[in-house]
């Protein structure tokens, strides 16, 4: 996994609340048993006037010239709610999104971000709206810097906003860890736990399989 230490890029406002994972990657865009090839389908319903022909909808923010190099999304509350599909995060990552700033996230989506090297930043609604306003008023100010080591968002004017993130999540992102490998290093402890657990709850381990 690509580590996330700090990142500077263009941020695009997508301030609707409750943007769900169906909207991020519509089901019909999940065409193969694969994590790849999803970037084209990102926000497909909003992004294209004709989905099959991939005719861009000029109204949609990511299609506007100022935002062609977007790597950060500024979103409304409860971003990524709904379906658990990790495809939403794979699609965002493939499109080039490295971070999302929102007042809140769907909880499965949040975990999926951490697992895939996308930084979810939680900031108060007013702060997100202020940032969006500043950007919209000045075409030169669309860049943000995200510094995960210092837990800061820094705008073009140098103004800093600090954010909270669980240490466990920060660590995983900073180091780009293979989490399964890391957990398997705890195998001794896991085995000891399993042994006593299975003795305590033997009915969960029937020999028969109906």
């Amino acid at each position: 996994m690509q580590p996330f230490i700090s990142h500077t890029g263009v941020a695009a406002p997508l301030l609707r609340i409750n943007i769900d994972t169906d909207a991020i990657i519509p089901s019909r865009e999940m065409k193969g048993v694969s994590k790849k090839g999803l970037g084209q389908g990102l926000f497909a319903v909003w992004r294209y006037n004709d989905i099959d022909a991939r005719t861009p909808n000029p109204e949609f923010v990511l299609n506007q010239p100022d935002y062609t190099n977007t790597t950060i999304l500024l979103a409304g509350d409860n971003f990524g709610c709904g379906s658990s599909r990790e495809h939403a995060v794979w699609a965002l990552a493939e499109y080039g999104i490295r971070a999302i700033i929102a007042p809140g996230f769907g909880s499965i989506f949040y975990q999926n971000c951490i697992r895939n090297g996308i930084l979810p930043v939680t900031l108060a609604n007013e702060t997100v709206l202020d940032m969006a306003e500043l950007m919209q008023s000045d075409p030169q100010s669309k860049q943000l810097t995200l510094d995960l080591e210092r837990k800061l968002v820094i705008d073009c004017a140098g103004k800093q906003y600090s954010f909270e993130i669980a240490d466990s999540h920060r660590e995983m992102l900073l180091r780009g860890l293979d989490v399964i490998g890391l957990t398997l290093q705890l195998d001794d402890r896991l085995k000891a736990f399993e042994e006593s657990y299975q003795q305590q709850f033997p009915w969960l381990y029937p020999n028969t399989n109906s």
Partner: protein, 470 residues
Amino acid sequence: MSKTLFEKIWDNHLVTELGDGASLIYIDRVFLHERTGSIALQSLSEADREVRHPTQVFCTMDHIVDTFPGRGDATVMPSGTAFIQSTRHEAQAAGITLFDIGDPRQGIAHVISPEQGIVQPGLTLVCPDSHTCTQGAMGAAAWGIGSSEAEHAMATQTLRINKPANMRVRFEGELGFGVTAKDMILHLIGRYGAKGGAGYAVEFAGSAVTSLSMEARMTLCNMAVEFAAFTGLVAPDDTTFTYLAGRPYAPVGEDWDQALRFWQTLYSDDEAIFDREIVIDASTIAPSVTWGTSPQHTCAITDTIPSLASFIDENDRTAAERALNYQGLEPGTVMSELQIDNAFIGSCTNARIEDLRMAATILKGHHVASHVKAICVPGSQQVKAQAEQEGLHQIFLDAGFEWRESGCSMCFFAGGEHFGAGERVLSTSNRNFESRQGPGTRTHLASPATVAASAIRGHITDPRTLMGNN
């Protein structure tokens, strides 16, 4: 120390603290389906990792498989067959239990897991599907995860997670005539918002919950994720134990006795501290229906669509405006005057045998309005068989409903079968998001009773007008 039900389950499964705020939690059972499970299995095997305990991993075909009679691996969903066959291949290679197409146990994951007795009180169960919270109704900690986490769960039988906070939602008193668990959960989300449960494991309690059947509790917990909760759960009681006894994966004999003694300790202690508590007077809940594109856009079926001015929060107002625009509706519209084009009875929310019985009671002797396309998709093959044994399928067919094989079907759109653009669907499912049931399709959520009554009348209809002696 006093603990909540969720804390008791959590503590039983705590392998170790990871020192950075996260805990390593033991996972008893993993459920997969062909839409997201196939990728998890595939990428696990690509990484040369094995499923740690294959006997604790189960998989079904529900999302992509067709629900037309006579179905096979071919589906109307583009490239759907590849998902089905890859899932089968990976499941066999990994040695996990697969409820395949043609298996009489096949059905929607969250319907068949309780039906087979796979989810049990006190255990942890995860599935790469957001409605896994349905299974919390059995008194388990069951929650939805992403595919990468599913890989982690299968490879290590654990997950690294941060402990959610505890909320209790108490529905006290008696539900009114014609009011169901679906109306309870819609009411809750309508009142406290689609993110009201964010960050919490939500225990549903109170006299109106303990008097619900097991299946109705599943409906209630099903939409905990629509409340943004980490999961929902209900303390196990005699209703739970009676439901579970004799199911294929339920313990028997001495194991049962031992399990039962343990299950009876699974409740929130009197002194347990909830970070938040909500109390709702169950008698005030009416049959409910959604008008917009978020489950929080809910009102009583007797109500009108709220005015935009009634939304104090600007974000909420913008969202409501957008929703009404999408739905082709105006504030002030009387819900019960809304004509519908389609009626859908199905999904992991409301496609169990009691749901079908409820709908059939209303449909009996009636026919759906001539302009309404009506579809019933049982939640599992076992539900379907049971319904057929009781003759319910005949009532549905005589009323003009299609009678399908089990699966998720048109609960969600994946490029295959769907409802038309601009068409209005009254649905027993759980999501009314834009284009959820088809591009441009307008979804309204309600109980099976409401959907059945509305299908007959051709417009949204208070089911009480067609129930009992009225």
